[in-house]
């Protein structure tokens, strides 16, 4: 059984590196989609949540009788009525053994801890009837003082959870002197104070909202032997585990499906009260239930990101050689410790030293509980904060020394011949070439010409000043080596799983434990497998996002799917080849030692005899003529645990024009040259970079979640939370240098978060660079025209947004109350308040 129709391998075009158009797109551009909210099951009931308008209050009573009597309402439940079947929402990463962690009930019985927390759920035959009835639930609250401001909360002035006795959740510290990875930082700072340069700054990482385009939705189907949960989630496997662990349902009785998922950016890396409530209600009633949030509910209750104060001290020699870095963070957890929670700033702990050869480093983060929406991973998760801090500081150091910001960076960065390099944070960077990426980026933007124009404008006193911002970032991605996660007390491993199934018809089914929600895995993973097995791209089908189809997985976040999940694919495919080899040898009547496998074909060395892997698959399926003792299957699994993180890097340059008379900003040009190792699909990579850039730029210029003084999220709709549009943004100029990663077979590095991590400081550095001659060295993000104008006119960093929200109508006139009562339109004084009509 030989075949001769296959092309010789040298004629087969390699799939890796091709700009394949995406397999996913045909469905998505024709509306043939399966978003969770699209699902309708027989007898399905709809849920609406009743949410607290107060940031912090005791629940005195909940009267559900009017809602229960409403047309087509099936039932209304409060926390006590669902009791233990509700389970709890878990924190998977207690960052210290002593971490103070409030119990997080999906629907608390006695006290709410943030505005938007769920206190009752209405079940009705239609979504509209459920929402109508939610308005009829009468909740009596006794309002409590709320811990809102991060610094005040850290001082325990008002307690977010009075029973805990403190708002301070955990203090996590890394010190290079203690860890043996470097010198003590205090010595470096003392020496620099005496005879060097000390830069001390405090930067604000404002609160952001991931704002994925698809609002979260969950369907629970309790009919059938397995309970099925469909959810708009990034993490179906973690979700399944957490449901089993907290609600008493055996894991084997739970099937979780993440169907089409419309974006996540970390915002769907969560196990949510809404999922847990739907789970409990579905089980209670024995009927399928669906809950889909409104956008306003999403903004107030889906987790937020960032929200830190960064106190930074950089020590250097007089010539600008860095000698030490001390980082002290305050991080706002919000009302509860979310699934990653305090782990987010810890993911940044190893990255503040970035690409620079600091001999001494100290990092601490104090996580703090407040009465605001919980925070967790948002694109970059810890690393944007680190990159922002260090890249801003390097600009300050350049000013202090009096050299170009690129010159100070080059003086201190790891030279390309110094890789692999073990950093002061204890990580080994495997590969990189900062010189090459920087040279290319400078060429792309016309760096020297821009500096010349900047000088001209400055000298002529042009009202429109030009700033050039630099960010030479690196990040750690590919979460994560399980041993490292264990050392950091994370509750799970960081491996990924893959299966390759060889079908009799020549098609290949590939199962991955990664769970895409826009990344294009179906396309990129097909390319990897097609190359590895020498089969057609079109013949590979990628299956994912259903725990019954893909039973093992660690899901998608932390730029891990390619560098961890892709390696699992390679290993599973290699096992298929190993299993096929003795069968091919048997059929070809040759010794396995004489076979070679190239271009999808086993051939006998020195002959024209050969056989395609698809033919071996068919013969194995038939199993009529196999070697003795060989199982009739080529299907193979692999579970890969990464040996190390990997470290994409790049140089981003941004040119901003600032109208110094009005504070108006215009981005003139943005270029970046990223080194992400070998690229599987350049088209998909470009999309990841563009989208990442805009999210990082949006942090610099536009986005902020703002609370008023009573704890109401005033940027609680898309009218108020400023997501950039096509008209706000520009086209980008992107390129790549290539230093293949040495820690995975394909030589790839993650790219999903790179743009976001790099771009924020590039933009802010550009804005500050444009107005530095006015004595400005910081402008708080988002750099609104007002803040820029204030900074130019001598008001420091442009002032804080906090407390700057407009008072509610009526409130300003009504006896000048400042401390509360304004939540969600309720204008009563603090104290016992009735909030009929608080249903969201």
């Amino acid at each position: 059984m030989t075949a001769t129709q296959e092309r010789p391998s040298e004629e087969v075009e390699r799939e890796i590196g091709r700009d394949r158009r995406r397999k996913e797109d045909q469905r998505l551009i024709t509306g043939r989609t399966r978003w969770t909210d699209n699902l309708t099951l027989p007898g399905m009931l709809h849920l609406a949540m009743v949410r607290s308008p107060f940031a912090h209050a005791k629940i005195v009573s909940i009267d559900t009788s009017a809602a229960k009597a409403a047309t087509n309402v099936v039932d209304v439940f409060t926390g006590p009525e669902l009791g233990e079947t509700l389970g709890v929402n878990i924190n998977a990463w207690p960052i210290t053994p002593e971490q103070v962690t409030p119990t997080h009930s999906p629907m608390p019985a006695d006290r709410v801890a943030f505005a938007g927390e769920i206190v009752a759920v209405v079940v009705a035959r239609t979504a509209a009837e459920a929402r109508d009835a939610a308005e009829l639930v009468d909740v009596e609250y006794d309002e409590l003082p709320a811990a809102l401001d991060l610094k005040s909360a850290a001082a325990d002035e008002v307690l977010a959870h009075p029973d805990l006795g403190t708002n301070k959740s955990a203090l996590w510290v890394f010190d290079s002197g203690e860890a043996g990875t470097g010198a003590p930082v205090e010595d470096a700072i003392s020496k620099a104070r005496a005879d060097g340069i000390v830069i001390e700054r405090e930067y604000r990482q404002q609160r952001l909202i991931p704002a994925f385009m698809e609002p979260r939705s969950v369907v629970v189907d309790p009919t059938g032997e397995q309970y099925v949960m469909y959810s708009a989630t990034q993490i179906p496997h973690i979700l399944r585990f957490a449901l089993a662990a907290t609600t008493g349902v055996p894991e084997s009785k739970i099937r979780v499906i993440a169907p089409d998922v419309g974006g996540g950016f970390g915002g769907k890396l969560q196990t949510t009260p809404e999922e847990w409530i739907a789970w409990a209600v579905g089980r209670r009633l024995g009927k399928p239930v669906k809950y889909t949030e409104t956008r306003s509910e999403s903004l107030v209750s889906a987790h937020h990101g960032r929200d830190q104060w960064q106190k930074l001290t950089l020590a250097a020699e007089k010539d600008g050689t860095v000698t030490g870095l001390k980082v002290e963070l305050l991080a706002d957890l919000g009302a509860y410790v979310a699934i990653v929670g305090g782990g987010v700033p810890v993911l940044g702990a190893f990255m503040f030293n970035a690409i620079y050869k600091f001999p001494a480093y100290h990092f601490s983060v104090q996580t703090v509980l407040t009465n605001k929406t919980w925070t967790d991973a948002y694109r970059g998760a810890g690393r944007p904060e680190a990159t922002y801090a260090i890249e801003r500081l390097m600009d300050e150091l350049a000013v202090e020394v009096g050299v170009d910001p690129l010159e100070i960076r080059e003086k201190n960065w790891i030279k390309h011949e110094e890789f692999p390099f073990t950093t002061v944070a204890g990580l080994e960077y495997d590969s990189g070439n900062y010189e090459a990426a920087t040279a290319r980026a400078k060429e792309m933007i016309g760096y020297d010409e821009l500096r010349a124009e900047q000088r001209r404008r400055r000298e002529s006193g042009d009202p429109v000043q030009l700033g050039i911002g630099v960010s030479t970032f690196t990040e750690m991605c590919g979460l994560a080596p399980s041993r490292v996660l264990g050392q950091l007390d994370y509750g799970a491993g960081g491996w990924e799983h893959a299966s390759v199934r060889m079908l009799a018809t020549g098609k290949v089914e590939v199962v991955t434990g990664a769970s895409a929600h826009g990344q294009g895995h179906e396309t990129a993973f097909s390319q990897i497998v097609a190359d590895r097995l020498g089969v057609a791209f079109e013949d590979v089908e990628i299956l994912h996002g259903d725990t019954q189809v893909a039973p093992k997985g660690m899901d998608t976040y932390g730029s891990r799917s390619l560098v961890v999940g892709g390696e699992a694919l390679v290993r599973a495919a290699d096992k298929v080849i190993e299993k096929a080899k003795p069968i091919a040898a048997h059929l070809l009547e040759a010794s396995a030692d004489d076979l070679e496998f190239t271009g999808g074909r086993f051939s006998v060395r020195g002959t024209d005899q050969g056989m395609a892997i698809g033919e071996v698959a068919l013969a194995t399926f038939a199993a009529h003529n196999l070697p003795d003792g060989v199982e009739p299957s080529l299907d193979s699994d692999a579970t890969y645990d990464p040996v190390a993180f990997n470290f994409p890097h790049g140089t981003h340059l941004c040119a901003m024009e600032v109208d110094t008379e009005t504070g108006e900003l215009r981005m003139r040009k943005y270029v970046c040259c990223d080194d992400i190792g070998n690229i599987i699909n350049p088209l998909i990579v470009s999309g990841q970079v563009h989208g990442g850039l805009v999210q990082g730029i949006a942090q610099a210029l536009w986005e902020e979640a703002v609370y008023d003084e009573s704890g109401t999220l005033v940027s609680g709709s898309f009218v108020d939370y400023l997501l950039p549009t096509a008209a706000d943004t520009i086209s980008f100029d992107i390129d790549h240098t290539t230093s293949p990663s040495l820690t995975n077979t394909l030589g790839t590095k993650g790219v999903g978060e790179a743009g976001t991590i790099a771009s924020t400081p590039a933009v802010v550095n550009a804005v500050v660079d444009a107005v530095r001659h006015f004595g400005v060295n910081d402008i708080q993000m988002p750099c609104t025209p007002e803040r820029v104008w204030r900074a130019i006119n001598g008001a420091g960093a442009g002032g804080s947004t906090e407390g700057a929200a407009m008072p509610h109508f009526g409130e300003a006139e009504a006896s000048g109350t400042s401390e509360g009562g304004g939540a969600m339109g309720n204008q009563e004084q603090p104290g016992t308040s009735s909030t009929e009509g608080a249903g969201a």
Partner: protein, 156 residues
Amino acid sequence: MTRISLTVDGANVSDDVEPRMLLVQYLREKLGKTGTVIGCDTSNCGACTVHLNGTSVKSCNVLAVQADGAEVTTIEGLARDGQLHPVQEAFRECHGLQCGFCTPGMIMQSVDLLSTNPNPSEEEIRLGLEGNLCRCTGYHNIVRAVQHAASQGATS
């Protein structure tokens, strides 16, 4: 309840609807036209954009009863005789989508933009899509897709 009759993606349909029902709810809940999606509750995101009598509208901003007697085209009715509309092709060709949730609205708005301005500048494209939010692409490749479609003569 009010009786409405209209044409959706070429099919004649008629239903009793509550006067408060939005067109997008009618499309999704009554007709199963789930290709059209809901992304916000303040008419900012444009994910629900459809054509009403040939003009793009945010279908969350139109009552179903207002569509009585009208001709509605959704993303599901854009391809004809198994042939993708050139704007659909262009979004795939230029990688103008990632998660795909904004895509139905983005494509419907782009079709409308090109029907009124067959050769838009980048600036005109960006302004023309200002009412449609995307969180994945950074708009770069969406702009390319519209330019590509324009170069293919996709004006209707």
